[in-house]
Symmetry: C2
Subunit: 323 residues, 2 copies
């Protein structure tokens, strides 16, 4: 579906996701899908975790970044790349750039999770810290662009969304006949790519987003029928603090059935549950999907749910739950 | 190969492993195999992690316990089951018993990892704590057997070894043409099953064990050509503190090429590396395999190595490394 609006030239379609998949297949990890009968029984539905926490750089973001840089290379565009990121997109871009022997510059909020800061550094990214506001992040990036860096946006771009959508292409192969595809909602890159892929591949699928109450700008925007561009953000889910992108919001309006909001307490409970049943540490942003099932069981009861576990980059020394 | 000795009736052959696989396939999780180019580059070989840390109950032990209880059920044997275990076999037995609506009793050393104690409880096992010596573990179990419980030994049993061997059957399918199969060595259940499966399925394979220096009874036994039955154990690898089983040692002598010993410092370094590159927390016992590659790179250089990551049951509040 091409949409007739200001973003018409840029909105991804399913073919873009398939192209992305062919570009990045050798570079990304085809992540496993895990399920557990006891966990299913506890939550009242059949849950398949698509483990992007086990993706290279510990998050799905490596898919989008790899695709965006593959497109640059295809087009013969040389030069340093830059972005702003709370961490996962930054680490992903740093590694995708390093693979191509490019330099990368990442503007990061000074309250970023330490694990994510170190991942950016380990992958060869140069970090510029900023205040943790959307405005400061964007200003930091502007300065880099003035110096000639190529911007690789974290979520509002056809190549990024298409790359993120490849996770659902894999998921639909690994786990046929899903009733529901469920992803976190932050800037909207993951849910948009997922929704486009899911609608193309899975008949009668329901696409649901999970958003922290403390960063529920997308749920509020859907309610108001119009994107809000400010929200007083307060959530443990550090990866979901961004405001949904303008194009992303349009795609969400047209392809996503529902966004469920969840409390931080529920997110922490969900992190603990996944640790107990799967021995995986997932980051709070990822845990929103499990929290959504707990918060709104009627949407999932007895159904076959593919849930994207978006990342696993947590700070080990300050886990928010006791085992 | 049936061996002509005191254990001749009990020693597993490859057919036992295939039978085990057909019995437990619906109950165990086919665990993923992960690889990472940066990690490979750092360690100088091509490593495929068989992620039994993502097995149900967080360890490969669920394979052997499931097989042993399936055999009981096939033979119409009712009744409570019992074992001694530092934790992973206990949690595995508890869950395998719960699936069959049996009660289970687990003798555990009073210094067991908290995560493992809680896993046994969550899976419905009854715990009897004992002093952390082999003698006390065995005495605790004797008392349970006197009460009529059926013993399910942790490693020295044909059904247990056969169950553990199923991980390598999967691995050989998931990742063909391995040069080396590498597993931790504790009581010997995993390495024996792995070696029997590997020798049957992979031509010219080298089978290597990894053992902590502070529990190197198997390496010492191989050196002396005779099983030592005492070792002053001192290692962080809580899952490998048992003395190798008598039958297990015989199988190891005949099927394993080498056992490499590793220091606790190296084990901790390996845990941190796996966290950095894979965002998986693996227990110290599992990290011995990566530590062995670091300690003895010449055995692995340029080769294609399948490494069994045996478990992921760590105490989050006392991780031995900084990220």
């Amino acid at each position: 579906m091409r949409m007739d609006d200001q973003y018409a030239e840029q909105i991804p379609v399913f073919a873009d996701i398939l192209l992305a998949k062919s570009r990045i297949n050798g570079q990304i990890r085809a992540t496993p899908v895990l399920s557990d009968p006891q966990f299913n029984e506890k939550l009242g539905c059949e849950i398949w975790l698509k483990c992007e926490n086990l993706q290279r750089t510990g998050a799905f973001k490596f898919r989008g970044a790899s695709n965006a840089l593959a497109v640059l290379a295809e087009n013969g565009v040389d030069g340093d790349v830059a972005t702003h990121s709370s961490g996962n997109h930054g680490a992903a871009l740093a590694l995708a750039a390093a693979v191509q022997k490019r330099r990368s510059w990442i503007v990061m909020p000074n309250n970023s999770v330490k694990t994510k800061v170190e991942a950016v550094r380990r992958n060869g990214g140069e970090i510029i810290f900023c205040q943790p506001t959307q405005q400061d992040r964007e200003q930091g990036l502007e300065k880099l662009l003035d110096k000639g860096c190529i911007p690789i946006p974290p979520y509002e771009h056809v190549d990024i969304i298409s790359g993120q959508g490849t996770a659902v292409v894999e998921l639909a192969e690994q786990c046929p006949d899903l009733d529901v595809v469920l992803t976190p909602v932050g800037g909207g890159g993951l849910i948009c790519g997922s929704a486009i892929a899911a609608r193309a591949l899975i008949s009668d699928v329901t696409v649901i987003g999970a958003e922290p109450e403390g960063a529920a700008d997308t749920a509020l925007s859907l309610e108001q029928g119009k994107r809000v561009d400010h929200f007083d953000v307060d959530t443990i889910a550090d990866g979901l603090r961004a405001i949904v992108g303008g194009m992303n919001f349009q795609i969400i309006q047209q392809t996503v059935d529902r966004v469920i909001t969840v409390s931080d307490a529920r997110i922490i409970e969900a992190m603990a549950l996944v640790w107990q049943y799967f021995r995986m540490l997932i980051e709070p942003s990822s845990a929103t999907v499990i929290a959504a099932i707990m918060a709104s069981p009627g949407d999932f009861s007895g159904r076959r749910v593919g849930a994207i576990i978006s990342g696993g980059n947590v700070d080990l020394e300050c886990l928010p739950f006791n085992q």
